[in-house]
Structures are given as C-alpha cells and as structure tokens.
C-alpha cells in the first residue's frame, strides 16, 4: 500500500512561545504522536498518531499544547459524513470489523435530560440536609412479601442484603480490560465510601482479596477465575448475561494482554486469548438460569445475594420478570450507552435501548406482576451525574452502577481507544510502563471524592423535594415531569409532562 486514504483525525498545535522542548510529551505518549529530533534539537508532532487523549496536554508544564479536530474539510454532505467515509477507508484497508472502546457516542436522545425534578414550595417544607439528617442508606436484595413478627422480633430471617451507604456502585470492569491499579483504586474507593465494586469477569487478583467484603464477583460466560474461594470471598455474586455496549456479543481479551498476573487471576495459560462466549453455554432458558443461580447460592450457603446483569434490549421487561422468577435477588440492567473495553463499533452504536426506558418498563412490569419486592433493580449505562441518579431512583431504581464516570474521575479522557491497550492514563492497559501512571492512592481518592460529592448533591436535591430518605423517592415518578417528549415516550416512562 503506497498511500493511506485516512487523513489524521486530530491536529496537534504546539505554541512555540511556550514550548521549552522538555520532551515530557514525547515520554508520555504511547502512540508516539510526539518525537524528539536530535539534529534539530526540538520536539515535533505526528498528527496521524494522535488519539486526542489529552495526556500530553495535561502533563505539559507550560501549557504549550492544544489538540484540535484536523481542519481538513470534506465537501458538505449530510448523508456521507466524515465519520461514515473514514470508516469505509479504514475497512477498505484492513478488511476487518471496526472496533471501538467506551460507550455509544451517537446523538440519540438522552432521556435523563428530558426529565425534570420537583421541589417543595409553600405547601410542604423543603429540608436543609446540612442541618437535618438525610438518609441515603440502601439495601439491595430480595425483600419478603410480608414480615412475620412475634413479640417485636422477626420470625424469619431476611434474605441476604447488600448494605450501601450511597446508592452508587462501581460496575463490572475486568482485570485484563483495565489495569490492576485501576482495580485497586476502585476497591479502595468502594471500601472508603461504604459501597461495592465489581470484579468483572476476569477474576479477583490476590492482592484484592482483603477488599472482599466490598466486592461483587462476576460469573460470566468465560467463567474466568471462578472457584469456591472466589465466590466465598465476595459480598455478592453477579451472573453476567449481557453488557449494554455489546448486547448479544461475548468478549475477547487478546493474548498479549494476558501477562503473568492476568493469567493467574483468570486461571488461564500465559499469553493465551481469553474468549468469553456470547451466551453461557449452560444457559439457554430461564430454567437454565435458575439452575446457575441456585448452584451459586448453594455454593455460598444462601449467604450472598445473586445479581443477574443483562443488557437493555427490546423485551427487557419480560426478560427481567423471568429473571426474578428464576430466583435472582438483584437485577442489573445496562443501557445502550454503557461502556466497554472493546466492542464492534456497529454493535455498540446500534444495538440495545436507552436505560431510562428499560428501567421504567421493568419497574412497571414487576409492579404489575406483584413481584417488585422480590428483587432490587440496579441500572447503569451512562450515569453522568447526581441528577441522573436521582431521576433513576424516582423512575424505580434501587441503586445505580457507574463505570465510565468512575474511570473519568481517575483520568480517562474518553479517547475511545481502550481496545488498543495503549491507554496513556494507565487504565485500559497491561503495559507496565503505562499501568504505573495510575497511582491507586490517587485513583482511590478521586473515585471516592466523586461518590462523596454526588452523595452531597443527592441529599440537596432530596431536601429540595422535602424528602429526607432516599427510600421515599424510590419509584416516586410524581417527582418527575417530562419535557420535549411525545405522549408515547411519557407513557413508557410513566411520567407526566411539565406543566401537568
């Protein structure tokens, strides 16, 4: 191939008045977008290699760098956009599936931004969370249909519950897809704030066993790293059926990422590809799922809640109902904007449904069937801020899962190149030169700060509504009004329009 039809995506601008040729950018870019010219004694940039991760921009001590969209214009065409054409150039060259990382970035409507929250005025008092107690405590797990009480004591044990100080958990990201330092950061942050982190499907590294009481371990189709100790160490077990970024698709961790630590943790040979099949080959029906749920409960002596995680797809309400009846204690639903370390681009951008609809549909269905109490609902798939969480709780969620926002708190700049293994922020990589860029002390502090900040904001919004416990907001859709939505959308969300 003599020429490459793909022009650079980004332009690196170097302010010559500020650049001191210190080469920090050269040393920090794993994509080799900056290089030192010995003869000229100065730094040059290779625009074509830049993925716009901002590592050099943030590290540059004199703020001499800016990254811009490459200024090359294509002839205006509303149909054949630059993205559409560039994808074809790339595929014409490689003959391969287009890969990407992180969540769906297409301009689909974001329904969180079409819902507004209520506040108290005159007829009911608002509450100041700085002066009055405010309860965010959340228990996840199956709740009994009724309580048998005799002489002030419960006659039957409550099924196992997860106790959360904030209604936010870190969702599943495997060791392999992200670095051990990222896992250490999440685990320590979860412990600090009183919530849980999730191992993802790649097993639990031996250094993190001490955080077991704040760990949700995942059992996915590849069964990596699963043994009796793994299950017993954890606070809860999650069966992963699907992932919002790539519903219906399995996973593939390339052999080059399977180093000594990943290989031991996943219990697979060094340097071999770790392939998670698309389905669990022992689950082809709700009845099969029930068998796995009860095998896991049996293995852990019915002491730990079992979560079943699915992607939000068209029939999500009926599927969730089946999962509850199969014995799950918690159903986790991942919306179509959920992130990933690697997914086929077309699947990521075109498969699944928004989490807002999935949540409303599932909560409504479970209530109609009278089984909502049998399960807790956890939703994820692009929870971007605390008001998204408040809206999710009002729509019917018990808690939320965050992953992308947690990674952003630790430095991710959403360049969507996780699948290359060259994450300059030390998150989505196993390269020892890069993983040490994430100091888990700093990562844990920043992720914990995010949760604390959001908890404060949730308290403020609750107080404004005159509510002093999150429990009172749960499923209280009267606290929501839709804006800019059709009747059909309002109907599915089960909320009134603003002004009604």
């Amino acid at each position: 191939m003599s020429i490459n039809y793909l022009t650079p995506a980004f332009l690196i601008e170097r302010d010559k008045d500020r650049c001191i040729d210190c080469q920090v950018c050269v040393r920090q870019c794993a994509n080799e977008a900056h290089r030192w010219d010995e003869e000229e004694q100065r730094v040059f940039s290779e625009d074509a290699n830049c993925v716009n991760c901002h590592r050099c921009v943030v590290m540059c001590p004199t703020r001499a760098l800016h990254i811009k969209k490459f200024p090359l214009e294509f002839r205006n065409n509303a149909n054949w956009t630059q993205d559409a054409m560039r994808a074809i150039y790339l595929q014409a060259e490689t003959g391969g599936v287009l890969l990407t990382g992180m969540g769906n970035d297409r301009p689909y409507p974001i329904y969180w931004d079409h819902m507004l929250l209520n506040a108290s005025q005159v007829t009911n008092p608002s509450i100041d969370p700085l002066r009055e107690p405010m309860e965010l405590k959340t228990y996840l797990g199956r709740k009994p249909d009724f309580l048998k009480i005799k002489k002030g004591k419960l006659l039957e044990d409550i099924p196992p519950q997860l106790e959360l100080d904030v209604p936010i958990m870190f969702s599943a990201m495997s060791f392999g897809s992200i670095s051990l330092n990222a896992h250490k950061s999440l685990a320590a942050a979860a412990k600090k704030v009183g919530t849980y982190w999730n191992t993802g499907e790649g097993g639990l590294h031996k250094d993190l066993v001490e955080h077991g009481s704040h760990t949700i371990v995942q059992v996915a189709s590849g069964r990596f790293g699963v043994d009796a100790d793994y299950l017993k160490t954890a606070a809860a077990i999650e069966i992963k059926i699907g992932q919002g970024a790539k519903p219906g698709i399995g996973g593939h961790l390339p052999g080059e990422k399977v180093g000594e630590e990943v290989s031991q943790t996943r219990m697979i040979p060094l340097g071999t590809d770790a392939i998670s099949p698309a389905p669990h080959h022992d689950i082809y029906s709700i009845e099969d799922l029930r068998q796995l749920i009860y095998s896991l409960k049996e293995a852990t002596e019915y002491q730990k809640p079992v979560i079943v995680k699915i992607a939000a797809v068209h029939n999500v309400a009926a599927i969730a109902s089946g999962i509850v009846r199969a014995g799950a204690d918690v159903v986790a639903i991942d919306g179509f904007r959920g992130g990933t370390g690697a997914a086929p681009l077309r699947t990521r951008d075109s498969v699944g449904i928004p989490i807002e609809f999935a949540l409303a549909a599932v909560d409504t269905r479970l209530r109609e069937e009278g089984i909502r109490n049998q399960v807790s609902l956890v939703v994820g798939g692009s929870i971007r801020n605390s008001s998204d969480i408040v809206k999710a709780i009002a729509l019917g969620a018990d808690a939320v899962y965050i992953a992308t926002s947690a990674l952003i708190s630790m430095g991710c700049h959403m360049c969507q190149k996780c699948y290359t293994g060259k994450c300059n922020w030390g998150i989505a990589t196993q390269d020892p030169q890069l993983t040490k860029r994430l100091n888990p002390e700093i990562g844990a502090e920043r992720a914990a700060n995010l949760l604390k900040a959001w908890a404060h904001e949730i308290e403020e919004m609750l107080g404004g509504m005159g509510i002093n416990a999150l429990e009172s907001l749960r499923g209280n859709r009267l606290m929501l009004r839709g804006i800019g939505l059709t009747d059909r959308e309002l109907n599915i969300l089960g909320i009134k329009a603003a002004g009604e």
Binding site: R18, D21, M59, P61, T62, Q433, K436
Partner: protein
Amino acid sequence: MKRVYAREEYCVGCKLCEIYCIAAHSKYKNDLVKTFKKEAKPPISRILVEESRPVSFALQCRHCEDAPCTKACIVGAMHKDPETGIVTNAEDRCVGCWTCVLVCPFGAITRDERGHKVASKCDLCSDNGQIPACVEHCPNRALVYSEYESNNGKK
C-alpha cells in the same frame, strides 16, 4: 531529617521533577518559560531520573548522616548544616576538583561546567523554605518528602 524518597512503582518517567528542579535553581525562579528560553545556559538538574523501562525513579542527594562528600572536600565547600542536616556546596568556594563526585556512593553529584566549575547537587530547595520543587510537581506522588522511607518505614 526530612528527605525525598522515590517510589519507583509510581514513577512515570516524565522527568517533570528535573524540569522543575532546573527552574527552581534558575535566576528566573520557577518561571519555566523564561528559564528555558532566556537563560543562556539553564542550570543543570540536581535530580536525575534513572530509567530502564519500565523501571524508573528519580535520584538526588541522600543528605547522608555521615556524608563522605563533606569529608572529601579539599576546600571545605561541601558542608552539612548541623541543624537541618542538609548537605550543600558553597559554590563560591568550590574549585571543581570533583573529589566529591568520586566519593558520592549514590552518584548524586554532577559537574556543572557552565561557568566557574562547581559541583552541583540537591539542596532540598533550602532557599525556598518549602517542600522541594521536584516533590511538589511530581504528577503521580512518586516522590515524597518525609522523615521516613515510605515503603518499609526505615529511616
């Protein structure tokens, strides 16, 4: 005494410590752009990042209890402050004989031959009366300024 300790597991090899060290000892104190653009010969970094990828760490004078350089110095320029414990070189008296360079067990003294030949070494930014510039600007807390070794608690 407080010393700078390196935590190599978090050193990203960016060498920002060297850059800020240079600026801290320039006549345009802490102004990076002026230090590198206007100084005819910017100072030599007194901290050195040793690197053999993926391992890297920053090394500077350990301010030894029983500093060999102070004993080796033929003109008494190298001295240890009895109160602070900081080892500094009185550059006006230094004759550039490099005996200190020879005896330093850490290789933490370098030759500064930009003008009057002097031995260049870490002074823990003692002029500033604050935490050393390298520690302050390390982006990943790979340098700590403390009484004790961070990893195993040894002095």
